[in-house]
């Protein structure tokens, strides 16, 4: 092998190994860590992603926020259906009744969503795109699928 060939082989070797490792890591991490976004209506109809952890978004229902120490409970609606969310910790500044928020967590056996993270955005006019899409989708639901938002 000439030095140039050896050098090319080296370059290609490093590239292949590097990209191979990266691709493996990426795929493994992807499988474990993708978070699906789900609407309250999808929860109601049981269309849940395989993973236990997922995100749910909607509007905080007026008059449902209850606090007990750092534990908070509230209902989240996409205007067709709603789901009860519990969260332990301090909520973001813009968490308010009627505000669009996204919660990250898992559904417990009794149908309550236990959030490990609650996101509200720092602009009062700003609605997370997922939430506005969810509201839009709920509007177009056939009536029989519409539950009664609590």
């Amino acid at each position: 092998m000439s030095p140039t060939q050896r050098q090319r082989l080296l370059v290609v070797g490093i590239l292949v190994v590097g990209i191979g490792i990266a691709a493996t890591l990426t795929l493994l991490a992807f499988q474990k860590n993708l978070l699906y976004f789900v609407t309250p209506t999808q929860i109601k109809s049981g269309e849940l992603p395989q993973q236990r952890q997922f995100r749910v978004g909607g509007l905080v229902v007026e008059g449902t926020v209850q606090r007990e120490g750092v534990r908070v409970q509230f209902d989240l609606t996409d205007t067709a259906n709603s789901v009860t969310v519990v969260y332990s910790g301090i909520l973001p500044d813009l968490f308010r009744e009627g505000q669009g928020i996204v919660a990250n967590g898992k559904l417990t056996d009794n149908g309550v969503f236990e959030a490990s993270e609650v996101l509200a955005k720092h602009d009062e006019n700003y609605m997370p795109p997922e939430v506005s899409d969810a509201l839009e989708a709920a509007k177009n639901l056939p009536d029989k699928l519409k539950g009664h938002p609590k």
Partner: protein, 660 residues
Amino acid sequence: MIPEIGQYALILALCVALVQTVFPLAGTIVGNRNWIAVARPATQAQLMMVIVAYGCLTYAFIVNDFSVAYVAQNSNLALPLAYRISGVWGAHEGSLLLWVLILALWSGAVTIFSRSVPEDMVARVLSVMGMVSIGFLLFTLMTSNPFERLIPAAVNGRDLNPLLQDIGLVIHPPLLYMGYVGFSVAFAFAVAAMLSGRLDTAWARWSRPWTNVAWLFLTLGIALGSWWAYYELGWGGWWFWDPVENASFMPWLIGTALIHSLAATEKRGAFKAWTVLLAVFAFSLSLLGTFLVRSGVLTSVHAFATDPTRGVFILAFLAIVIGGSLALYAWRAPQIRSRVGFALVSRESGLLLNNVLLVVACATVLLGTLYPLLLDAMGLGKISVGPPYFNSVFIPLTVPLAAMVGLGAMARWKKDNMATLLRHTRVPLVASIVIGLLLPLLTHGGYSWTAAAGLTLATWVTATTLQGVYDRVANKKNPVAALAAVPRGFWGMTVAHLGIAVFTVGITLTSIYSVETDISMAPGDQHDIAGHTFRFEGVVEVRGPNYTAQQGLVTVYQGEDRVTKLRPEKRVYLVNTNPMTEAAIDPGLTRDLYVSLGDPVGANAWTIRIYYKSFIRWIWLGAIFMAVGGGLAATDRRYRTLAKRSADAVEIDGATTGAA
């Protein structure tokens, strides 16, 4: 009247930018020296016009001209002067104008600091920068005019977003933009080199200091953004893998790869084609970042109200820039020949490994950032990729990178001997394992093997880097003189690499030894955390210039001694009545005490967030080291003497200008 002047100035700037783009480039093609000579004056004229426009908008903010829609939306009579000046870049239209201004400033700097570069090369560079300018000026004028009038004028403005009324915002965007836009210089040099067909090592030498300076600004900008998010968003985190953070981090990763690759290209003529490609990608990713932030496709703190026309415009612009430069690359790359051999053990190999790891790391970030957008766009469901993904991919990629840093810098160009290299690392290896294993014993939180691993890595980086310095002077007769003779470029590299060690200590210890709790406290309640007692004294109401606040008082004791009094606030601004949490922080080199107010519960109790953050300052300190390193390297005398030498050569040459 003044806003109209600003508007005209912006339109004039566009016209001048057209001149700056067309004539110099045409001049280099047809060989007309008068046209080539247009480059510098046209660039400077464009800079003047943009400065006038920017000045007009700032003036409208200072005098509270609420007949300008942008001012009415982002300012207020009660807003302090400093925030009225920085409010210019507080929202979309103004920050775009700031972008245009900074691009004009970089172009202006090129006209001044490139006396040694051949005229035809300067002409091409300025012409390419003019093209970018045209794109952004058109974007500003067509979709986001900051001077648009509001008729009838508002009585009072809607105030600047309270989150942005902070010293962090005053400096974060300009620094970040200096970095983003600074890569346009490296990009312009690369494109100019491709256009001229002279892809020798000269263009690498010219663009090295520019790239270093842009990179140092980007480093500082990102670090500042991280620091700002830490104290202002009230979550106490320093990095969230938020898509917008990723948008600024990707050009940084590629920029870092570019700095290293440029070294190999300039010194050894290696990786020529690859370096050009990196320069194109660094700037393309800066543009992609702008697109992601400005188009509103992201769920993020930074996302502004959506306007689809803006998204489409930037996407088209992005396609032209990336498509155009890649087409040029495809045309020219086959002509590039890097006929330089190097052995398996050599500095070139080290730099190659560095580049592969950085580029792959960037690709994983890009995938994690764009994949959710892509799925959403194709209607395949809404997903998000959170910090666990990035952490589990990123850390395995960056640890070998850090481990190689000192070794790579120690290795010789072209060919080195593995045995010699290993002999030199014996002392650092033993030292770093011993120190790394012992250090966690000193911490309060109990022994952690992860901490030991992180500290070993940090000590290893430090020791091998210092060994590199030692090797330079060890066998010299007069070590002190030898030390003084070490060029600044080498010191820059050393300081930046030490920054990696400092940064590693910061993230390791913060992630392992930080303690965080959210609790509900009534006045008089105490809570113990990491050897500190936090006593909640109660909440009083205070008034600021344009807000009222509930101000809590938390006294911190360590045993009997009072450490500090913390006053976290929950502010409500008068106009934009959103509540805003202002955390109270007692900073220190080894720990931050961080308290923020949550919500009132019951009669007089509050939920309170108490953090003990170990060594978090080291994260930003590391970034400062890196930036200082970049600055040192950019001011290396070599660039000036090389520049002078090639300038002399041109004078001797007389008639021809393109001798370098």
